[in-house]
């Protein structure tokens, strides 16, 4: 077990930011912390790293209690902050070298690691650039390189893809998976469910500082009643149509808004064919029609009654 958090409580006055949060992260995992803004993801990370004092609970990393002066533990942790934290006075190379130098004393080894990190994040052409000259995506890559250059055993990435273009985002996610393949355990926080779904082996969904569900993405999806979501771009749907669809077998909810008919069906038999038959029989005009499996957003919606991005 790489990280063990037990009953962590953090209060800001009357606001409970973390409410008896418990989690475990196993070696070799990419552990995702998913939740909307303000759900306590960053607070949890800061408490785990002892950057914030917490009111109650225990944090262990590598089987040892984590504390502000646990320098031996810190040596094997890489952190990528939510905000880009680099020195504007140093070049790309200088920044990576500085942060790597906080962990690695040997000059030659450090040089090798810095070079590797530069290649890893694809900043080879920008080594002499100052951060102010870099685009948002390149800055994020630099931010990551500063956190991972020393080859840590545990990498904590706090929303590393915020405000990043799709191309850079893709590269960052590929990079995280590669780091994991190389042996690093990763804790990844995000409010983008697609990212978490794509890279994380195990996911914890947070809301208002509480863990509302934990498991693999399949385990999480299995927790909810919905099995399939059918979306139909249709025109002239009446209330009578909606009532009749609700009466179809295995249908659990029907919504019609902005010419989009969204039908959710429960576990068991697929309902796509049934819905299609109904549309044809009632001569309803329709454009696109497609079926989707449940997403983590649906999991979040069903458990909390609100969208992840609310």
């Amino acid at each position: 077990m790489i990280v063990r958090v037990k009953n962590l409580v953090k209060r800001y006055g009357d606001l409970v930011a973390l409410d008896h949060l418990s989690l475990t992260v196993n070696e070799g995992e990419i552990f995702g912390l998913l939740g909307p803004n303000g759900s306590g993801k960053t607070t949890a990370i800061n408490c785990i790293l002892s950057l914030l004092k917490y009111d109650k609970g225990e944090v262990e990393i590598f089987g040892r209690p984590m504390a502000p002066d646990a320098y031996d533990i810190k040596r094997d942790i890489g952190i990528v902050m939510q905000n880009v934290a680099v020195y504007n006075e140093l070049t790309v190379y200088g920044n990576i070298d500085y942060f790597c130098g906080l962990y690695i004393k040997d000059k030659n080894e450090r040089k090798r690691l810095v070079e590797e990190a530069i290649d890893f994040v694809g900043l080879r052409d920008f080594t002499k650039f100052y951060p102010k000259k870099l685009s948002g995506g390149l800055l994020r890559r630099l931010n990551i390189a500063c956190g991972i250059a020393h080859k840590p055993k545990l990498i904590i990435l706090d929303e590393p893809t915020v405000a990043v273009d799709p191309q850079s985002r893709n590269r960052i996610l590929e990079g995280i998976m590669e780091l994991n393949r190389q042996g690093a355990t990763v804790i990844y926080t995000s409010h983008y469910m697609e990212e978490v779904e794509r890279i994380c082996t195990r996911i914890m969904i947070l809301d208002k500082g509480r863990a509302i569900a934990t498991g693999t993405k399949d385990e999480l999806k299995a927790m909810i009643t919905m099995n399939e979501k059918i979306t139909v771009e249709s025109f002239g749907i009446t209330d009578e149509h909606i009532s009749e669809i609700r009466k179809l077998p295995n249908i659990i909810s029907v919504e019609y808004k902005d010419n989009l008919l969204v039908i959710k069906s429960g576990k068991g038999k697929n309902s796509f064919e049934t819905v299609l038959d109904f549309i044809r029989k009632n001569e309803i005009r329709f454009g696109k029609i497609y079926s989707e499996l449940p997403t983590l957003n649906d999991v979040f919606l069903e458990i909390t009654g609100k969208e992840l991005r609310d």
Binding site: N46, L49, L51, P68, D69, Y71, D72, K74, R75, I77, I79, M81, N83, V84, A85, V86, Y87, E89, L90, G94, Y98, F99, G101, L102, Y103, C146, G147
Partner: protein, 389 residues
């Protein structure tokens, strides 16, 4: 020493702004240096008798008056003025002459008979020249009267000869300054006073930039996540600041040595160095305070200019304290630069270095240290408030 190296890099990145202040300082120092070359300051320790412009009008000719004119000529330049009331008054008014002496007809004969005769004089009232010539005239005729009273039937020629020989000896005057060599510290005084502006500017710019970067929350957290002990990070940061401030001070005082080497080898210089070093401590406190207060990097330059120019203008750095109003000086008393300039002005006048002579300077320096400590305390309070805000 990653943090130490980082600090030096940050300073290096801001060096060009600081260099502007150093160049301005150097330029002013060079101008001062060249303007003070050959101003004849060495003359301050030699003595030359002064000669007064005198109009000498004699209505008679005699051996006594000739002797008197000869004697008066030793301390007077005789200026020819027409013997007309208006011309004489104009000459006096326009300071063409400072003294008019008229010998009335029959003066010599009356004097030889011991009668109460008088010379007529017109002079600039209450002037030094007036007293100077009066003393000379009194000396001549008082001595002459002694001969007339004691040597009956002495001739005017004989009297004039005696007087010439009696009044010939002159005292030699030598200027001494308590037996010490009196070096000229005017340049050093000006230099070290102006140093307040440059040092304050450079240290505020450099240290505030460092503190501002290190106060960045995300960067601080990232550093705290590393295995480097927070004590080590703080120590490296303090060390870098010390190196920077001492280097800035050293470079600037070195300039003074180079530009004013001749007068630099004295005890006064040691005190100038001490006062400037104490002032550096105060600058550090002020910079630490400013660095912790400002919220944007762009504000550093503006705050630096306001503080340094404000302090220096009212404290006598640019305009000597003697020319500043008492109200301005009272306000300036609340700035460290005032006490620094005051200490420098006192150091420049020092010729004796006993405790009693140095005491006022030491008390000025203690006040500067007090300012420094106050700034550090205020900065620590600001840091604490910020952290718990």
């Amino acid at each position: 020493m990653q943090v130490f190296k980082l600090c030096l890099n940050i300073i290096k990145k801001n060096l060009h702004i600081m260099l502007i202040y150093v160049i301005v300082f150097l330029a002013v120092s060079l101008i001062m240096s060249s303007s003070m070359t050959g101003t004849g300051k060495a003359g301050d320790i030699s003595f030359t008798g002064k000669k007064v412009d005198v109009a000498f009008i004699s209505e008679e000719e005699s051996a006594l008056i000739d002797g008197f004119k000869h004697e008066l000529g030793k301390i007077a330049n005789f200026v020819e003025i027409p013997d007309e009331t208006e011309a004489l008054q104009d000459a006096l008014y326009f300071r063409k002459v400072s003294y008019i002496v008229r010998v009335p007809e029959g003066f010599s004969e009356g004097f030889m008979r011991s009668e109460d005769v008088r010379l007529e004089k017109t002079a600039v009232p209450n002037s030094v020249d007036n007293i100077y010539i009066d003393l000379c005239i009194d000396k001549y005729f008082n001595t002459a009267r002694l001969y007339v009273r004691n040597l009956k039937d002495i001739s005017q020629e004989a009297l004039a000869r005696y007087l010439e020989s009696d009044l010939a000896p002159a005292a030699s005057v030598e200027m001494i300054t308590n037996g010490k060599e009196n070096n000229d510290h005017t340049y050093a005084n000006y230099f070290y006073n102006f140093l307040a502006y440059s040092l304050l500017s450079v240290i505020i710019l450099g240290m505030s930039a460092l503190i501002f970067v290190f106060n960045d929350r995300d960067l601080r957290m990232r550093n705290e996540c590393s295995p480097v002990k927070s004590g080590s990070i703080n120590m490296q940061f303090i060390l870098a600041n010390l190196l920077f401030t001492v280097s800035a001070w050293f470079v600037m005082v070195l300039l003074c040595f180079l530009l004013n080497f001749k007068n630099s080898l004295s005890m006064n210089t040691v005190y100038f160095l001490l006062s400037s070093f104490v002032f550096v401590f105060c600058c550090c406190g002020l910079s630490y305070f400013i660095g912790n207060l400002i919220k944007s990097k762009g504000a550093i330059g503006a705050v630096c200019n306001i503080v340094t120019l404000g302090f220096c203008f009212i404290s006598g750095v640019f305009v000597p304290q003697e020319y500043l109003g008492s109200f301005v000086l009272k306000i300036a008393g609340f700035t460290p630069t005032y006490w620094y300039v005051k200490a420098n002005n006192e150091i420049a006048k020092l010729t004796e270095f006993g405790f009693q002579n140095v005491k006022p300077i030491l008390s000025d320096l203690l006040i500067i240290i007090g300012f420094g400590l106050a700034f550090f305390t205020a900065a620590l309070v600001a840091v604490k408030n910020k952290r718990y805000a």
